[in-house]
Amino acid sequence: MSDLELERSVEAILMVVDEPVTELTLAQVLERPVDEITTALSHLQEEYENHGFELRTINGGWRFYSRPEYSSAVEKFVLDGQQSRLTQAALETLAVVAYRQPISRARVSAIRGVNVEAVMKTLVTRGLVEESGLEHETGAILYRTTSYFLERLGLNALDDLPALAPYLPDLDRLDEVLGALTD
């Protein structure tokens, strides 16, 4: 792997990770010495000087951020309200969490038939859903709705959610059966 390829691989990883990544981790994954990773990162930092984003190190980990110079555009975008209404995908995911909580992301994906990673993050960011411990068998993070969710839907308690059609309780047992098969 050339130095250029190393830099491109580092960029590719940092662009899609949510948590800051340490130089040591990058070195292990890319099978290169730490000092080469350090050189690559500082070279990339320079390269981004004329861009709207930058690489920053926080608590020893690296991550992409918007450049402070363009914060007014970013804030305007966040304030704009374009994002205030939930998308259909977000609504459907929220509905599954509300009626099946606590539930893991994998289980929600299985029910909706699509990957819900991005949507679940949105729901957490919007304060409608929160983490609620780990699933005993798998160690997967469980999610539940928040009191803010109840507030936004105009309900006092989860019990006030409209009852689902009578055939659905059986599906709880189906879920158990399916769960027993796949766990």
């Binding site: 966040v78 609504l91 599954v96 993050k121 839907l153 105009g154 409209p162």
Partner: protein
């Protein structure tokens, strides 16, 4: 087609071919084994056969392809895997058209009447057109596969909003009330795949034409002659009546019966003229 792809079918089929035709064994088996694992429907099979003979799809010299297609579906039938009616129909339609085309080529052209010729041309064109269409979609499907593979290699940036920014977010709008929310949950949580077992037939006992035919033969051998009304007098369901009628038609075709009906829609008299054993 899953059952066709099964390894057992493959093995079973191999052993039958080996005993059936030793001289063409090696080549034929290799070909068929390949198809048993790969093909998906009659068009797929036909395309594979054509490409194996390095023929253009619009070429009419299909004699050898026809033979291979026919022997293939015969082998499949003998493999004990059985046929689903809809699958068998599709294969048979293609096989029949191919046979027609082959037959037409074997006859001296002068002896083929114009009308038959025309019908054959039409059958051939429709078959080739369908085959061309299928091939186009098959090609496109492989580009879909490549696109999905490529897309799986590109990962989207999916990051949570920085806490300093998420504090700026306006109040979220769920946009629906509790009732509508419940309705969405109901729709999403409802099972999407319903069991595809047809239950209609369970309301009716199964009627076997073969069994009814056996009963009809025994009854007629005993009484020699009978009218249809009496033959079905104690039948418990319409299905039994239909089965006995089908049995009669088959026995008539075999020359075991004679029908006598004086008036149209009148009493149907059936006389046994077949063997007594």
């Amino acid at each position: 087609m899953e059952q066709v792809r099964s390894a057992e079918a493959n093995v079973k089929y191999r052993s039958q071919v080996e005993t059936a035709s030793a001289e063409v064994k090696s080549e034929v088996i290799a070909g068929f084994a390949l198809h048993l694992e790969n093909f998906d429907g009659p068009f797929d099979l036909l395309l594979q056969l054509i490409s194996r003979h390095r023929m253009d799809i619009t070429e009419i010299a299909l004699a050898s392809v026809t033979d291979e297609f026919i022997s293939f579906i015969r082998a499949l039938e003998e493999s004990g895997e059985g046929w689903h009616l809809d699958q068998a129909t599709e294969f048979l339609v293609v096989a029949a058209t191919l046979l027609d085309l082959k037959a037409a080529r074997l006859l001296p052209s002068g002896e083929v009447e114009d009308e038959t010729d025309l019908a054959l041309l039409e059958a051939r064109d429709i078959l080739f057109a369908r085959l061309l269409q299928y091939r186009a979609f098959k090609e496109i499907a492989s580009t879909f596969h490549e696109r999905i593979l490529l897309q799986d290699k590109a990962f989207a940036r999916v990051v949570a909003l920085d806490p300093s920014l998420s504090a700026l977010l306006p109040e979220v709008l769920i946009g629906v009330g509790p009732e509508r929310f419940g309705a969405i949950a109901e729709r999403v949580l409802a099972p999407k795949v319903t069991a595809s077992i047809a239950l209609e037939h369970l309301h009716l006992p199964l009627v076997s034409v073969a069994e009814e035919s056996q009963w009809v033969v025994e009854t007629l051998r005993r009484s020699r002659s009978m009218n249809f009304r009496h033959l079905v007098a104690e039948a418990k369901s319409t299905l039994v009546v239909v089965a006995r009628f089908l049995a009669l038609l088959d026995l008539y075709r075999q020359g075991a019966l004679r029908f006598d009906q004086v008036h149209s829609l009148g009493e149907l008299q059936i006389s046994w003229i077949g063997s007594d054993t």
